[in-house]
């Protein structure tokens, strides 16, 4: 069973992505967070419980803290835990800096443009 964590302050986008995942990744479970602090607390609880999501989908532009800052905070988690899953940045912006920043981070597997399509999801899960 694939576990997903969706972090996006846009509730509609979160809903769309949850539905897409649940429809096209059979047997998946999705947890949604609308704030970075909520997401970091959720991840800490996961670490404490000895588990970790397979995919963490992080929006870049969010209030309080952006997606990259969340990734920086995540670096404090044990590396053997971080290795269990993939971090994917979701971007609605077109800023080349975001792409460069995502590529430069060892924790970030990919940067994807929103909304996630069925084909993109399939490719993701098959990898």
């Amino acid at each position: 069973m694939k576990q997903f964590l969706l972090v996006d302050d846009d509730a509609v986008m979160n809903l769309v992505h949850r539905e897409m995942i649940q429809n096209f990744v059979p047997g998946s479970s999705v947890h949604m967070c609308e704030s970075c602090h909520e997401a970091l607390a959720y991840l800490q609880a996961k670490v404490d419980a000895g588990t970790w999501p397979d995919f963490i989908l992080l929006d870049i532009n969010m209030p309080e803290m952006n997606g990259f800052q969340v990734v920086e905070r995540m670096e404090a988690f044990p590396s053997e835990v971080l290795r269990k899953g993939q971090v994917l940045m979701l971007s609605s912006s077109l800023h080349p800096d975001d792409k460069a920043r995502a590529e430069a981070s060892p924790l970030i597997a990919q940067i994807l443009s929103k909304p996630l399509t069925r084909a993109r999801l399939n490719a993701l899960v098959q990898d």
């Binding site: 846009d10 992505h17 897409m20 609605s92 912006s93 080349p96 929103k114 909304p115 069925r118 993109r120």
Partner: protein, 439 residues
Amino acid sequence: MPEQTAYKELLRDYRQLQLRVTQFSRVEQQLIDTKDRLDQELLIYKRMSEFSALALSGTDLQGFLDTVAESVVGIFELESAFILAGPKQEDGQVDWLVGCEGMAVGPATLQETLSDLVLIDRGTLEEPVDLTPQEGLAVLGTQALMLHAHASTDRLEMWLCGFISKQSLPLYPKVESRHQTIFSVFAHQVRTHVANLAQAEELSRKNAELQKSNAELDQFAYSVSHDLRSPLLAIKGMIHLIQETEQTSVKVTKYLQLADGSIERLDKNIQEILEYSRSTRREVQCEPTDVASMVTDIFEDLQFSHEGEVQFSLTGPASLEVHTDPLRLSTVLKNVIGNAVKYRDPAAEPSWVKVDLRSDDGQLHIQVSDNGMGISSVALDHVFDMFYRGTTKSLGMGLGLYFCANAVEKLGGAIGVESEEGKGATFTIHLPHATPLLP
């Protein structure tokens, strides 16, 4: 008496001789005076020429003012002189003056002409009073008159000062008419130089302001595009979700397609506006760039951007490095390759996009060809025009290829297209291996 006559003649000769000696010594004295005056003039002009050379060499403002003060000392034979400098005040007061030892210094009211006379109350810091020369001379005593030359720009104000007095005071030398001439030349040079310096300062300040507002505009365009696109992409996602997961009637399916198309167009418009705002302001920044891997990345990005299958292929060297602006080149390639995908022929089985890279004679040739819808002969001449849209199927505002042509030109290259309606299109981009510095 012959002796008496001889004596008288001798005496006359002697007196004549004496007179000539006096005349000669007077002439000698005149010559000495003239020589002294000429020496003095020479010294003044020498200092003036040193000053001019320095004024023209464009030193920093403070160094320049120090030199002016030094020159004032030389020309007016002062013990010392100084210049206080400061910006022009809102009330028209200036905080800087040329002064000399023993002279009172304080804010002065602005004077527009060269030879206005201002009364300085010696030893006090009271404000000077405007007087005519006659009135000024009438009150001479413990006071002296200051002759000033005025140099002014929008932001800076400068006075050069000399002094007039009836008797020669050690600290207030007489101002002679030739000094006034020098003064006016001096003032002119100072005015020009201060104006130049102020202009240079103004320019660098404006440049810094421009850079700042450019960065702010970039940030603004970025935020606006993000804030506009976010809800749009959520709607797009919602439509895809319905299309993918719900059984809809033929009518609703059609409506959803139309809605999706409208969103696609709006999104494309936003992207083009952002692209336009970015590309027109950003300077060309070159670095070693691997064009082959850039193309591969674009293929990857486009993989999931559309329905149906498109075959991407790249021929040429596996790695091809040129010295160019990667952001501009990738924008161009994304546009051209993206167009090949967007305007593919639905009837084609399968659709393909081929990119060929070739390098010769210091030039890079990139060829992007497809088996898409092609471009009509009418549209072909205008595809690179601003706001030109070739077909009703065009997305966006008709800026994409305009940017491309613009960007390629900035990179010192050229772009061209060959196409026939219904038979695909081939875009060719020629770029120098190293982007030349364009004016």
